[in-house]
Each structure stands twice: as C-alpha cells, then as structure tokens.
C-alpha cells in the first residue's frame, strides 16, 4: 500500500502545526520522520492515523483519496499508530489490551484463552511481554511493546511509531528494529508492512531508515531519496541536524563542557544505606541497596527498565515507602531524611524528574503556568504577602519559555496539548531553575531534540560544577557514558557494580546488566 499526503495544512489556535506538507510512504519501506520539538511530526501522523482532520489537503491510499473520521477508520484501512503517550487501559492485562475490540473471538472465553492467543502471537512476532501482567505494572518500555503488538494483531499494514525508541534500552531497540525489518522485508510485497518512525536519535535513523524526511516549524523541508542516495547525499548526523535546525543558532550554553571530571569531591551529598523498596505488585524491587552520591558528580545508573530504578528514585524522593525504615538510612547532606515528607525533602533541595511526566510531573488539563508552579507555589518566589502573585509566576514562566525555547499553542491552552518535547522542556526548566542539592533525573532527555538534549546536558554539567549531586538514569548507554562521572549498573534491585569514568566500557556495562 502506498500512502500520499498532499498539501496537508493544520492549525491549532491560529498557529500552523503543519503547513502545506507533502509526504509519501512507499510500500515496504521504513521511513524516518525527523524534526525538532514542535516541528509538527506528531500532528502530521495523527492526521494520517485519523485522529485529526486536516484543515486543507488530502490523503491518498494507492492513488485513491480517503477520508478518515476516526482512528477506527484508519485502522480499518490498515493504518495504525503508537502514540507518544500510550493509550493502553491500565487496569487490564496485556492480553486483554491486545485483544480489546478485535473481532473473531468466541463469545465466551477464559483469561487463559486470551493469554494463550497473545502469548503465541507475541512469540511469533518475537516481542516478548508477559500477557498476564496488568499494564500498570509494566515499565514504559514494556508498554511500548504492547502497543506494537496490539497493532500487529490488527493486521496493520502501515505502522506509525511516534518516538518508540525514546523509552527502550539499546537491546530492546535492536530487537524492535529487527522486528520492524522482518515485517517490512517479509513476503511478496502485498503482505508487507511499511513503517513511519518518528525519532530524535540520528544514529538509529541512519542505521534503519530507507528514506528520511525532515520537518521544521510545520513545513516539510526535504525527503532524502533512497538509502544509498541518503548516504551519498550525506545523510550524516551533521547534515540531518542542519536540515532540522535551519538557520537557528544554538541555545545559550555555558563553557562547562571542557571542564573535565577528574576531581570528584570526597564528600557524599547523598548516602543510601541498606534500603529495600517494594513495587506496585508488592514485590521487592530494591533489595538492601547501598549507594553513595558525591557532591558535584553525575552518577549514571544503567540497567534494563524495570529493575528497580523507578522504585529507588521514588523512595529517595519520599513518594514510595521504604520497607525497612529502621535498618536503613537515606542521608542527604548529613541529614537523615527517611522520616521527612515529600514536601520537606523538596524544600531542602531534592529535585526529582520522573520518567512518566504525564502522570507524575505535570497537570495536562491546566495551562502551562500551573505545571510550572507545581512544586514551588508555596515559596516566597511565587508569593506576595502569602498570596500567589500573577506577576511573579508569569515572569518565571516567561524565563523558562525563553531559556528553553518552548514552542506551543500559548498561555491559556491546556499544557497537555503542547508537543511532547516541549512539555519535557518545561518540566526540566522547573526542576533546574532553583538551586537544588541533588537532582534525581529519570530519562530527562527523553523525547527531546538534539539541540535541547545537549542544552540539558550542559545545564546538568553546570549544576554539577556548582556542587549539585545528580543521579541520572537512562536506558541509553551512550548518553550515560557521555555525561556521567561514574556509572552504577543496576539489576534485579541491587547495584551490580560501579565504574569510574576511565573504566567506562559498553561491554563491561552490558555484562553487568
């Protein structure tokens, strides 16, 4: 099936999210869609997937014009999308989610039947998830897999994946890519699948994409023809970055990049002794774990998602209870904080950037300002005589918007309607704004474009020089090796080993995981 989008335009609140965009997807290709945060990638694909209606322009399938009134229409036509933010039913099992609303089930069936079907199907696709688990118990990475399974099960011919790799570990990414390639290359052509892949990671693009399209500020800038052409046309990371950014100049950064990290202060700013934490399934996720974070260092934590990383951070932040409060210690800047509330920990300078920002770190239904105020609404920074000051909060918002180049539909619009990357920028802006003692960051650059990612890295390094201790969790080992002073490898709820900067080595880290 060949898809053509012709002259697609779409505006929100008077701003163009897509302007006169043309886009072709050939049968059996993997087509990467690139662009900075807010460039309009998700919007364009949402239009193809029937979620939005274009203001202007047409969609053609194999030369025939089609109109989709809903995602269901698009699905019937064989087009399915995995969104940046998942749409799974949290309280149902994986099997139920995959089979939800599909035809061809018997009238009566047991859980075991469903699980059987899904487990066979997932083996066949080589996408492994436990069909009996409830979705809320899954890591983000596992949820991504369920989404893909769901579409594959519906015999989708055109798979649109909106930033799937942002949440996956390198191994999972490799797995996913192999699956995608198998799907795309298989068969005689009529049964083969085409894939649109939205991502910010250049390496992946060059590795897997047959063709690459680049968007900027709502417009389609260029489509690099075939894989060979793409390479000969110089589809290097540099070239692509140039296409994405255009004339824009880099964001303000400090010169901290060249300050190397030989010296780590001997002083611990955070000491974790012997803590055990349970996950949502009530299983022990963190087991008698010990960890030291020095002032002025970035401590990367590597590991496959779901090995207790989230539980560890939440326990430090006070969001999750520590099981063995009496035998364990969490010491922040020489002060035992195990008994403190979340708020008290925030006040003494603990900042937490959670992985699931939609759920934990922002209020999508309210304007941007409310999310900016979320943690500091009760500090003098935002108050005048005990009352919230519009003037002060507006100023703080404006500063974040300027510093981080936040692009979005504007003031009064619900923050949830900002593009994924822009939401993350605001959350980061909020957490880095003040002078924290420690920062716990889970995948803080997830979904951010190149420039913003490097901007965030710079900012974190700057904080580090100021003596802040930073725990940085990421599934991207390259990113960890780039930014960390030390890397701790976490697996099955314990720290398996800690490497110093001069010992960094992908293989070594991989083995420990």
């Amino acid at each position: 099936m060949k898809v053509s989008l012709k002259n697609i335009s779409k505006s929100f609140y008077g701003n163009w999210a897509n302007k006169d965009v043309n886009f072709d997807l050939y049968r059996g290709e993997i087509h990467a869609l690139l662009g900075e945060n807010g460039a309009g990638k998700s919007t364009l694909m949402n239009i193809l997937a029937g979620l939005y209606h274009p203001d202007k322009g047409n969609i053609f399938l194999d030369g025939r014009e089609v109109k989709f009134n809903s995602p269901a229409d698009a699905l019937d036509a064989g087009i399915g999308m995995v969104h940046q933010h998942f749409s799974l039913v949290k309280n149902l099992t994986v099997a139920q989610n995959v089979l939800l609303g599909t035809k061809g089930l018997k009238n009566f069936f047991s859980h075991r039947d469903l699980e059987q079907i899904v487990s066979e199907f997932s083996n066949q696709c080589k996408i492994n998830v436990d069909p009996t688990k409830k979705v809320w118990q899954l890591s983000v990475g596992e949820q991504e897999k369920v989404e893909i399974l769901k579409l594959l099960y519906r015999k989708t011919k055109i798979l649109i994946l909106d930033e799937p790799t942002a949440v996956l570990t390198p191994l999972e990414i490799e797995e996913l890519f192999q699956t995608l390639e198998r799907l795309v290359r298989q068969g005689d052509g009529s049964s083969s699948v085409s894939v649109v892949l939205i991502t910010h990671k250049m390496k992946e693009v060059i590795r897997i994409a047959d063709r690459i399209s680049v968007m900027r500020r709502g417009e389609m800038i260029q489509t690099l023809k075939s894989r060979e052409n793409a390479v000969s046309e110089g589809a290097s990371e540099v070239k692509l970055a140039e296409l994405m950014m255009g004339e824009e100049k880099e964001m303000e950064v400090c010169e901290c990049d060249n300050i190397e990290s030989e010296k780590i202060a001997e002083e611990s700013i955070l000491e974790i002794q012997n803590i055990s934490v349970r996950n949502d399934r009530k299983l022990m996720a963190v087991k008698e774990l010990n960890l030291n974070l020095f002032a002025g260092e970035i401590l990367g934590i590597a590991g496959v998602a779901g090995n207790g990383q989230v539980e560890l951070l939440e326990a430090i932040a006070g969001i999750r209870d520590v099981e063995n409060k009496n035998e364990s210690k969490i010491i922040l800047d020489k002060r035992e904080i195990s008994k403190l509330t979340i708020k008290e920990r925030i006040k003494i300078g603990l900042r937490y950037i959670p992985a699931d920002r939609h759920r934990d770190a922002m209020v999508g239904t309210l304007p941007l300002k409310d999310s900016v105020m979320l943690k500091d609404y009760d500090t003098n920074e935002m108050l005048v005589a005990g009352f919230l000051s519009d003037e002060k909060t507006t100023k703080i918002c404006k500063k974040i918007i300027d510093d981080f180049k936040v692009i979005g539909p504007g003031e009064g619009v619900p923050f949830g309607l900002y593009s994924g990357g822009n939401q993350q920028k605001v959350v980061m802006g909020r957490e880095l704004r003040l002078n924290p003692k420690i920062i716990l960051a889970h995948s803080p650059t997830r979904g951010l474009d190149l420039m913003t990612t490097s901007f965030i890295h710079q900012l974190l390094k700057k904080k580090r020089i100021e003596g802040v201790g930073i725990i940085f969790i990421s599934e991207d080992i390259d990113e960890l090796m780039k930014i960390s002073d030390r890397i701790a490898v976490m697996s099955a709820g314990v720290i398996k080993g800690i490497l110093k900067r001069d010992e960094f080595d992908r293989v070594k880290i991989g083995l420990l995981m």
Partner: protein, 380 residues
C-alpha cells in the same frame, strides 16, 4: 445501474478558548431553548386547555411572579424581586459550599443535609440562649455552631473516603436523609413548641436571634454573608496556596502527590469548609427568615446548588449570577403553581434542561463541528 448516495460526514474538533462573547451568546441561547422546552412541557402537562398560547401565558406568569408587573413597578413595589433575592441567598451559599469540594473533584452531594445541619445548630443555640446573650454574640455563636455542624456532616464522607476508599457520592447522599429526618424528628419531638397547639416545629425565637432585614422586605443580612463568601472563595481559588492545591489535586492527584501535596489532608479540609459553608446557608435561612425550626425546611437548595456550581464552572462570581437566574426560575415556579395550577416541579424541569443545554452549548463552543456532504457512487 448507477446509485448515488449523499453521505454526510460529521466531525468534531477541539478548538481554541471560546471568546467571552460566544460563551455569553451560547448561555443565553441555552436559557432560551430551555424555556421553549419548558413551554412544551407545560403544554403537555396542562393539555386540557385549548388555548394554544397557554404555555406562553404560563411562562409570562412565571416571570411576572419573579419580577413583578409594570403596575407594581410603578408603585415602587419590588416585592417579587425581593423574594427572588431571598431564595438566592441560601442557593448561592450552598453552591459556594459544594464548589469547594468540587474544586478537588470530591463529589459532595450532601449540601442539602449540611444545610439542614446548619439550621439545626442555629436553632439549638437560639432556643437556649436567645434570652441570655446579646444580639451580636448570639448571632456569632449561631453561625459558628452551624459551621461546625455542617463541617461534621461533611467530614463523614471525607473520612470514609480517606480511610476506606468509600465512594463519597453514596455516603453524602445518604447522609442527607439521615440528617433531614433526624432534624425533623427533633422538630416534631424533643424541640417541639409545647404551646404550639400541634404546630410541627419549635417555638419562634425571640427577636434577639433574628438577622436584620432591609425595610419591609424579607431580604435579610444573610446577603452580606453571601457576597463576602463569594469574594473570599474567589480569592482562595485564584490566589491562595490552598486553592492551588485543590485545583491541582482535582485535575491530577498523582502529580500533586509527587509534588508534596497531602491528598488526605486536603480532602478532609475541603469537606470541612464545604460542609461548613453550606451549613451557613441553614443559619441565614433560620435566623433571617423562618425564625424557628420547622418541617419542610429542606426544599432542595442543596440539590439545585450542585447544578449551579457545575454550570458556573466553580467560579464564585458566576455562581452569584447563576444562582440569581435559578432563583428567578424557582420563584416563578411557585407562581406557576398558584396561578396556572401547574406543578411546581416545572421549575425543576427547567433547571435540569438549562444544565443540559448549557453543557451541550459548551460542547459547541469548544468543538468545531464540520459537516461535509459527499457523493458516493455505487455501480452494480
């Protein structure tokens, strides 16, 4: 053969914040349509009369009931409108009360019971102290105790929710019956006026316990409390730390929790304030109007208040406005019953339809509706 079909596509799409003008227009249209709808209901329910204009006559009787007629205006007789204001006071205060709980998405349906609890507390104070205390301390004591009673009634669903996760809608609704029936029992039994010749209620309080009124009207000083509370809540919602917490917890409790807000504490506090405020309406009603506790006190302000709060999007000033509109309808409904011999419940029907039309109107304000015709050709 060649068939041609016209196929319609209807699409809904979210659009920007509606301008003030469109919002007002839609609101007026909603009221207009609900009146038409009411006319139809009147026609159907009073169907024996042949006069086709009967529904309109009934509606105009209704408005005359609420606003008075020209004759009265010429004589500077504003009795009817003053009666609207009398109804507006408890309605507004109850709506303000529930709006506090609704701000954090705690669905308190118990304003009616909290209102009655406030009335009971007021009466208890008045019956015991109206000849002992001076006016000001007496009124203050009445007010305080009614707030406390309302807060206690409000706390019950809150505690059950926090401790046991019990659904607050069921609990707060059931509590209404308990509180109302218990209060009626007291009014009939232990508190009944022994010299009342069988009158179902307490004795009338001494004048010490009366809220002052304006001139010869029945409009009492409860109106100041109403205005004060509106302003207070507006400030709380918009500019206070607590208001911010309520708002965030109402929209995304998990994010609020992760940012250090205490969900349980806020549920309890919100229900103390919510129940307490609704109970203050009971205080003004007793001290300002009836001056005794009697049967038939709960006439549904607590329920109408839910609709008012909802329609007003929990904005205290809009609550004032909508309470006024609803009071016009309620007062008009009384009039209908008297002149047109129609059931008073017509007023409730109109209230309900206004809510539906406003919600439907809201939908059209925030969504673009695109209708497209397209031809489909079928060959056979």
């Amino acid at each position: 053969m060649n068939f041609q079909f016209l196929n319609t596509d209807i699409n809904f799409e979210k659009r920007g914040n509606p301008s003030a003008f469109t919002s007002i227009l839609i609101t007026l249209l909603a009221i207009f349509f609900s009146l038409i709808f009411a006319a139809i209901i009147i026609k159907v329910s009073g169907g024996k009369e042949a006069d086709p204009m009967a529904p309109l006559a009934a509606l105009s009787a209704m408005f005359e009931g609420s606003f008075g007629n020209l004759e009265q205006w010429r004589n500077l007789d504003f009795y009817n409108i003053s009666e609207v204001v009398v109804k507006m006071i408890p309605l507004t205060i109850c709506a303000l009360g529930v709006s506090v709980a609704y701000k954090m998405s705690f669905w308190n349906i118990g304003a009616e019971g909290q209102f009655v609890a406030g009335a009971l507390a007021t009466s208890l104070v008045a019956l015991h102290f109206d000849s002992v205390l001076g006016k000001i301390p007496l009124l203050l004591l009445m007010m305080m105790l009614s707030f406390i009673f309302g807060a206690i009634v409000g706390l019950i669903p809150a505690i059950l929710k926090v401790k046991r996760g019990v659904n607050e809608v069921v609990v707060s609704l059931m509590l209404n019956y308990i509180v109302i029936l218990f209060t009626e029992y007291l009014a009939f039994g232990p508190l009944r006026d022994p010299r009342g010749l069988g009158f179902p209620g307490t004795r009338e309080f001494s004048e010490n316990a009366f809220l002052p009124v304006f001139g010869i009207s029945r409009v009492h000083y409860g109106i100041f409390l109403m205005i004060f509370l509106s302003i207070l809540l507006w400030i709380i919602f918009k500019y206070s730390k607590w208001g911010f917490e309520l708002k965030v917890l109402g929209e995304n409790p998990r994010a609020g929790y992760c940012s250090g807000m205490n969900i349980s504490k806020n549920i309890l506090l919100a229900m103390i304030i919510s129940g307490g405020i609704s109970a203050l309406a009971g205080f003004t009603e007793i001290a300002g109007l009836s001056h005794r506790l009697q049967k038939g006190l709960a006439v549904g302000y607590g329920y109408s208040a839910i609709i008012v709060a909802w329609i007003s999007r929990l904005n205290p000033f809009k609550i004032l406005l909508w309470s006024f509109i609803f009071s016009v309808i309620i007062a008009g409904g009384d009039q209908l019953q008297i002149t047109a011999k129609l059931p008073k419940a017509i007023a409730l029907v109109i209230q309900g339809t206004i809510l539906l039309f406003v919600l439907a109107g809201d939908f059209f304000v925030s969504y673009k509706v695109k209708v497209r015709l397209r031809k489909i050709e079928l060959k056979s």
